[in-house]
């Protein structure tokens, strides 16, 4: 069995950054396993710009952003295995794979980094009533058809959900000559980035119907139209508000789910709030030496933050296999919990002994806020607070908590509330 210091599952943005960082931090034998024939992951089909504003301070397309890390990886001594599917990861960090060239084989590593990304929620998951014709696509699937395969998936489109991929596809379909009749969002606010609402809907005159949903899909073989209804405060359709949209295509942008089938098999503890592994400050999971980063942990809006998080995972994995950072079951760890108006936090645990000056914490709020305050507290005692003039569920929040506040903390709670700027 071949031995590695670090095996990275996936060569999307998370896997690429983690692998580079692991190598640069002393892991010499690094293997990156990618199921696709090209590295880059979902970025390869994201041909629009807007990537890298935080990380590179310039505006790149998805393939360009991926390209920078592919070049970086190629400059290291890391091995990249393409067209190869990981079938199983064991708690002992044995990774079983299959590809057309080598068949089934297993390799072992001191540390494993999981970066399988996420999948899209489907029609079946949300149970849209109506017939089941062709022409109902998840937005990402349509994006692949249009941007990678070079085919149009329809002529007249209604988009359900206002996640970022749906918004991007509204613009993309319009630019390719399709008519996007409406973007329909169940919630009273969009789940996408504000900039995408402006650049992908407003700029093209595509109406956004908030607090609406598709209550029926019609058409026998191919979509022939949808019925859209307004919903009440609990998301239930209001009878009498139905209106028909003539269309041949429905694109769904109704949420992303981290893909953790491999993590479950490896015995990794998942957080039901994120549906990803519960991680420590260095992105280590509940299984010592198995790390996770990127959308497999929690769904990000910006790849820049995936990169930052993944570099942390890569560096920690290198330290783990160099024994500088070995697992210590008795090491104190502070649990992080979501308080009022906060949906989840990542990481879920912080070991104060392993952070330099501060810990980075990511979370999402449950509703839209104007002037507001994020509070970090320890059993009712407020440790730290942060002002914001806008927060929304579609925009991931990021705070840093100084090490000194964590050292004696029992349990950290992050909450959000309305608050005026002083």
């Amino acid at each position: 069995m071949k031995e590695y210091d670090v095996i990275v599952v996936g060569a999307g943005p998370a896997g690429l950054a983690a692998a580079c960082e692991a190598y640069q931090n002393g892991a010499e034998r690094v293997l990156v396993v990618e199921r696709d024939k090209e590295p880059g992951g979902i970025l390869n089909q994201c041909i629009h710009s807007g990537f890298g504003l935080h990380y590179f301070k310039e505006e790149l397309t998805g393939p360009e952003y991926a390209g920078r890390f592919i070049d970086l990886l190629r400059a290291t001594g890391a091995e990249l295995l393409l067209d190869t599917m990981v079938l199983h990861v064991s708690e002992e960090k044995e990774v079983t794979m299959v590809n057309p060239r080598d068949g089934c084989f297993t390799a072992r590593a001191d540390a494993v980094i999981l970066t399988m990304g996420c999948r899209e929620r489907t029609r079946g998951a949300i149970g849209i009533p109506g017939t089941r014709p062709a022409g109902v696509f998840t937005a990402g699937m349509a994006q692949r058809y249009v941007n990678i395969e070079g085919y149009m998936v329809g002529r007249k489109v209604v988009i359900l959900g206002s996640g970022d991929i749906g918004l991007i596809m509204a613009r993309r379909m319009t630019l390719e000559g399709a008519k996007v009749a409406a973007c329909v969002e169940l919630m009273p606010y969009s789940n996408g980035l504000g900039r995408n609402i402006v650049q992908c809907l407003d700029d093209f005159g595509i109406p956004l119907y908030l607090s609406h949903t598709i209550t029926e899909i019609r058409g026998e073989r191919r979509v022939e139209g949808v019925v859209v209804s307004r919903v009440d405060g609990r998301g239930k359709p209001v009878p009498g508000t139905e209106r028909f949209f003539d269309c041949d295509t429905v694109l769904l942008s109704v949420g992303l789910i981290p893909e953790n089938e491999l993590s479950k098999e490896a015995g990794i503890e998942l957080d039901p709030r994120t549906k990803g592994p519960a991680v420590y400050e260095n992105m280590e999971t509940s299984v010592p030496g198995i790390f996770a980063c990127g959308n497999v942990v929690h769904v990000h809006d910006l790849v820049d933050f995936v990169t930052a998080e993944s570099r942390r995972a890569g560096a920690a994995a290198a330290r783990f296999c160099g024994r500088a950072d070995a697992w210590d079951p008795f090491e104190p760890a502070v649990p992080l919990e979501n308080g009022e108006n906060v949906g989840y936090t990542v990481p879920q645990h912080i070991r104060p002994g392993r952070i330099d000056r501060y810990a980075e914490v990511f979370f999402r709020v449950k509703r839209v806020f104007g002037d507001s305050v994020i509070e970090v507290s320890d059993g009712g005692k407020i440790l730290s607070s942060f002002r914001r003039d806008h927060m929304a569920p579609g925009e991931m929040e990021h705070i840093v908590i100084p090490k000194r506040l964590l050292q004696n903390a029992g349990k950290i709670t992050v909450s959000a509330k309305e608050g005026k700027r002083n």
Binding site: T122, G124, M152, T215, R221
Partner: protein, 481 residues
């Protein structure tokens, strides 16, 4: 001129064709869709019922019990997924307990073996996730689960391998008695046959009425279902029914042979024989009723909804037999539940009716069953190595949720009846059946189909004819009409 023509290629028609193909006969099967198993066969509870539900004396009772006894060997012969997991009918009150006693008596009368009446505690010991209020249960260990479309496909592949002809896209428009034989006008041309079998499911009244006097009417009854992710596949380990009422056997929860959990069906009049739309009300009803059997089902793990149409009539029985007025014409009509369970027995019965009508049946010396291919993921290490030697593309995983490889798909494409659509691949190889519902593998399956069959990408459909996916290439006016 065919000796026998079967109209309809669901599990009933395919079963009849397969049985006929064991004999020295020329056999044709006419199917209106572009693939087999596209109707009720792909949208049902996937259950082999023990046979305690139908009224004693009905064809349903007799053929259900007989079919259930035949099913394991048949599935073994064709390598179709089958698991005898047993079923429980739950009782929640005194009235229900009386119903259980009645079902037990009926089962005895029908010849169902090994049934037991259980106390609530015994039922809970067998199925810890059941509603603790369960007061008793009827346990039928002979009940089983099966892959219904897999069975139909294997039956028709076998029939074709043994000489039968399948005509797809051959919707029947008219049937005329032409003096000792029938002339059948279809979308795919005219066929002539001496004997005719009507296995047209929810359309079987229309077919009867083309050849014979109307004497029954299909009153299509819709059933809506949820399919849940494999994470829910272990909520129960038996098929769980509630007590039947006037609308049928009610909402069940059951593991599937693929390890998912199936919840349904409801029973509501359908808007025609092909009305497979799901409704908010139907789905809510299915979920609500199922939660009474077990509150442990997590409907957030739903991956698909579907609805199937039962070929119900006013009479609570199959319509099986020689036509009262048309010669050499056999109805295997109005085959609703337990039609899947009864299918192997219906096939035998139809053959014996045909023989009684004068069709000579002499068995072929050589009959070779077509065996359903084992997926790469289910092979032993040795078998995997051998498969990879034959085709290295067994090493490329296309459907990540169900671990289906390009080799699996290529093999299906070389069968006597290859898939011609994305869902055709799904029915044969499971690609697209998992939690992402083809979100990732759909375009790749699409590409493989195009490459291997030479069909243009734009011509390939999701499922039935007309269910096109692409409107053209980008940059060339692909969005223009």
């Amino acid at each position: 001129m065919y000796d026998v023509t079967v109209i309809g290629c669901g599990v009933v028609g395919a079963g009849i064709a397969c049985e006929l193909s064991r004999h020295r006969l020329s056999v044709a099967v006419l199917e209106k869709e572009n693939d087999v198993a596209c109707g009720t066969t792909k949208a049902n509870s996937a259950i082999v019922h023990a046979g305690f539900d139908p009224m004693p004396g009905t064809a349903m009772a007799r053929l259900n019990v007989q079919g259930s006894k035949m099913m394991e060997a048949l599935c073994g012969e064709l390598s179709v997924e089958y698991r005898r997991i047993g079923s429980l009918v739950l009782a929640f009150g005194d009235g229900d307990l009386e119903t259980l006693r009645e079902l037990f008596r009926r089962g005895k009368a029908n010849g169902v073996e090994k049934m037991e009446l259980l106390t609530g505690a015994q039922a809970l010991a067998m199925e810890p996730n059941l509603n603790p209020a369960v007061a008793g249960a009827l346990y039928a260990p002979t009940a089983a689960i099966v892959n219904p479309w897999g069975l139909a496909i294997a039956l028709i592949q076998t029939a074709v391998k043994n000489g039968a002809r399948l005509h797809l896209n051959a919707g029947v428009n008219r049937i005329e008695e032409a003096g000792g034989f029938y002339r059948i006008g279809t979308d795919a041309g005219v066929f002539e046959t001496r004997y005719l079998v009507n296995a047209a499911g929810t359309h079987s009244d229309e077919i009867n009425n083309m050849a014979a006097k109307p004497f029954f009417q299909i009153l299509p009854l819709k059933g809506e279902y949820y399919v849940l992710d494999k994470s829910q596949g272990n909520v129960v380990s038996h098929t769980i029914f509630q007590c039947p009422d006037q609308n049928g056997k009610g909402v069940l929860i059951s593991p599937t042979v693929d390890g998912n959990l199936l919840v349904g069906p409801t029973a509501e009049p359908a808007d025609g024989p092909d009305d497979t739309a799901v409704t908010a009300r139907g789905l809510a009803k299915a979920a609500e009723t199922a939660l009474r059997s077990s509150e442990k089902i997590n409907f957030r793990e739903a991956i698909r909804n579907f609805s199937g149409v039962r070929a119900a009539t006013e009479k609570d029985d199959f319509i099986l037999g020689a036509s009262p007025d048309a010669p050499r014409f056999v109805n295997a009509a109005a085959i609703k539940s337990p039609g899947l369970s009864a299918a192997p027995a219906i096939a035998l019965e139809v053959c014996s009716i045909l023989r009684d009508m004068g069709l000579p049946l002499s068995r072929k010396e050589e009959f070779i069953p077509w065996k359903k291919h084992k997926l790469f993921r289910d092979m032993t290490e040795e078998e995997q190595k051998e498969a990879l030697r034959r085709d290295p593309l067994y090493g490329r995983v296309i459907c990540r949720c169900e671990t289906v490889t390009e080799g699996d798909i290529r093999r299906a494409l070389r069968d006597p009846i290859p898939p011609g659509s994305i869902d055709g691949v799904k029915r044969r190889c499971n690609a697209g059946m998992g939690r992402c519902q083809g979100g990732f593998c759909g375009p790749r399956v699409h590409e493989i189909l195009s490459r291997e069959t030479g069909m243009r990408m734009e011509k390939i459909c999701q499922d039935r004819a007309g269910s096109f996916l692409l409107t053209g290439e980008t940059k060339t006016g692909g969005a223009e009409k």
